[in-house]
């Protein structure tokens, strides 16, 4: 065992040796820049491959050491790559080759003097992806099933607790229900936490495994966390001991319902479509009506067991047309916003799920009308047969409710139709002391965007640059600069086909303008200028 003094001496020795190592370097040569540059690659930049690539070969102009390398698919799922370096040639291996769409391989390498340099290579498998970030993530199938199950059960649970509380306190205040706060909150908390964990696993792209607390930390950054907290809050408030004052009890139930429906607005596709406020309002109304309706089914079914106390049924059949109608209108509006073209109804997964769900809802409408117009009156009048049929019909409604929620949960895996996420053209103004530029990125399906740069002198004077190049990067997402040389366009300005960026958040641009042989300028900015 070493003595403390010796340890102390060695701890000093390391920085000293470090200093000595660089001191001659600082004194002797003037500037120590040795930057490795990428000479060629396989697949080549912007190449479209027929089959997935398991390895990417990068050829640099001098020997390098790989600091890190990652491949990012169109869904934004990133995987770290293992590297095999032999001098100036680096081979990167994809553990899980990306099956389809655009791939961004970002690397950070260090040349022999220790100066790190980053870059990105873009290639496509099959065809370029229509967008870089808004594509549905390719969750592994077991994880997808788990996410779907937990999501469906969570919504049903929320509806039973919160919607049920509203039914009991509004339409059936006479019934004395035992207070079971803990029994209601604990399963809810477990469900929501599980949901968040699975969401985090999906975002990390690791599949259905135990990965410590990291998935929760990842999920906590998104809206899913807010939604889960709101949902839990609504469950807690709906299952707190009932105030003796009926009005107060009703108020608490309504409040719980409002919180729960707000939770709906923080998840799902309503956050990516326009107009956002309308989509959010619709999803809130839709969610509230849905929870009230599903939450009512269980108590109704229970109360239809006996002929006594038919008051709730009467009140429900009077009250239900309003929320039911609201649910249909809000749902139709949402579908209309998220699916603008009728032709996409069968071509997109979103559309097909919608058709399936509408079918279920139609069956439900038939059943509900049958209950409302043919069974309720005789059942209230004491007709034994009608009451039994009503009970069966309510049971059928419950099955349909589960199916509808299950179908809606499938949307988690299918974004709204492609055209709704199509980005408007992005326009960015960049300037420095010597030069100004206007950059426009217009999406050009399939999967590309046209970048156009108009260069001006200061004060909008004309300027004829020697050459212009564009770099796109997303440092926060680990995307190193992707460099594009721009060509002079006949209509004026400079242009090139570049990667389509559907979600501009985090993306930075660097327009390099060669003003004359010895003068260049870098104009940097963000794609999202607000």
């Amino acid at each position: 065992m070493r003595s403390k003094a010796l340890n102390w001496a060695t701890s000093l020795l390391q920085p000293a040796a470090f200093l000595l190592m660089f001191a001659p370097g600082m004194l002797l040569p003037a500037i120590a820049h040795a930057h490795a540059a990428l000479v060629s690659s396989s697949p080549a930049s912007n190449e479209t491959l027929a089959t997935p690539a398991g390895a990417v070969r990068l050829q640099f102009n001098e020997p390098v050491r790989v600091i890190r390398a990652a491949a990012r698919d169109a869904g934004g799922v990133s995987q770290n790559l293992t590297a095999d370096t032999s001098g100036a040639t680096v081979t990167l291996y994809l553990q899980d080759p990306i099956e389809h769409g655009s791939v961004i391989v970002s690397y950070r390498v260090e040349s022999e003097d220790g100066h790190p340099i980053g870059g990105s290579l873009v290639f496509h498998v099959g065809a370029p992806s229509s967008s870089t970030t808004a594509m549905p993530r390719s969750a592994t199938s077991t994880l997808a099933v788990a996410i779907w199950t937990v999501h469906t059960v969570s919504i049903l649970y929320l509806a039973i607790v919160v919607g049920g509380a509203l039914f009991n306190r509004w339409l059936d205040p006479g019934r004395v229900a035992p207070v079971r706060t803990v029994a209601a909150v604990v399963p809810g908390a477990v469900l929501l936490l599980t949901g968040l964990y699975l969401q985090g696993l999906d975002e990390l792209g690791v599949g259905l495994v135990y990965a410590g607390l990291e998935p929760l930390a990842t999920a906590a950054k998104g809206n899913g966390m807010i939604a889960a907290v709101l949902a839990l809050l609504s469950i807690v408030s709906a299952s707190l001991p009932i105030p003796s004052n009926r009005r107060a009890a009703r108020g608490v139930a309504v409040l719980a319902m409002c919180i729960a429906s707000a939770a709906f607005a923080f998840t799902g596709h309503c956050n990516v479509v326009e107009p956002g406020w309308l989509a959010r309002l619709c999803i809130m109304l839709h969610g509230a009506a849905l929870m009230f309706w599903i939450g009512s089914l269980l108590p109704l079914w229970r109360s239809s067991k006996t002929r006594f106390n038919q008051r709730p049924l009467l009140d429900f059949s009077r009250a239900v047309p309003l929320p039911f109608g609201l649910m249909l209108v809000a749902g139709a509006t949402l579908a209309f916003i998220e699916l603008p073209e009728i032709s996409q109804l069968f071509s997109s997964l979103y559309g097909r799920i919608l058709v399936f769900k509408v079918g279920l809802v139609t069956a439900l409408c038939v059943l509900a009308s049958y209950n409302r117009f043919y069974l309720t009156k005789p059942a209230l009048a004491g007709n034994q047969g009608a009451r039994v049929r009503l009970r069966r019909s309510i049971a059928c409604e419950m099955v349909l409710a589960i199916a509808i929620v299950g179908a809606a949960s499938l949307w988690r895996f299918a974004g709204p139709a492609a055209s709704t996420v199509e980005q408007p053209r992005l326009s960015v103004h960049l300037h420095s002391a010597k030069v100004m530029a206007q950059l426009e990125l217009s999406p050009q399906p399939p999967g590309k965007a046209n970048a156009r740069v108009v260069v001006m002198g200061p004060d909008f004077g004309s300027l004829e640059p020697r050459s212009v190049s564009l770099r796109l990067m997303n440092p926060d997402a680990g995307v190193e600069p992707i460099k594009y040389p721009l060509a002079k366009s006949p209509e004026g300005g400079w242009q090139a086909d570049v990667l389509s960026v559907s979600d501009p958040r985090g993306w930075k641009v660097d327009v390099e303008v060669l003003i004359d042989d010895f003068t260049s300028a870098h104009l940097e900015g963000s794609l999202l200028t607000q």
Partner: protein
Amino acid sequence: MIKQVSLAVVAGFFAAGAAHAHATLEQSQGISGKGYKAVVRIGHGCAGKPTIKVRVKVPEGLLSAKPMPKQGWAIEKVKAPYEKSYDLYGKPVKEGVSEIVWSGGSLADDEYDEFVFRGTVAKELPLGTRIYVPIVQECTDGASQRWIEIPAAGKTSEDYENPAPYFDVIEQPRS
């Protein structure tokens, strides 16, 4: 201990040696009002192609620049007016060599060479000014490599892929 330190020193010299890969200047400092010998070091060609022309932009404030002849290379001196008039040993100078071009030779990608010129650092330049010397390497097949990037405010040359070499203006050391 001695072994560790000496290894570090040797490693340091190698680190310095490795730094010659790109176009750089040998001397990192120029004395105000005195001559500055600029040794432009060309470490490799343009992406594997041999260098056939080296163009140096003489920075503003480096007066009466003179290239050192180089065997196998023709020299061209481009004269232009300075941005302002400088005082050179009591005489005002308003123009001088603004660009030096070495051409006609061929420097393979795996070979190293130096291109030398001298000039006088104008007294008017404030001490501590960093003088950038943009260099363009031209190679066969129209390829070129431009070491011309001058860092914007808040950045350093390290942030750029093709930084222009530079030197700093310092006060004459008292002896």
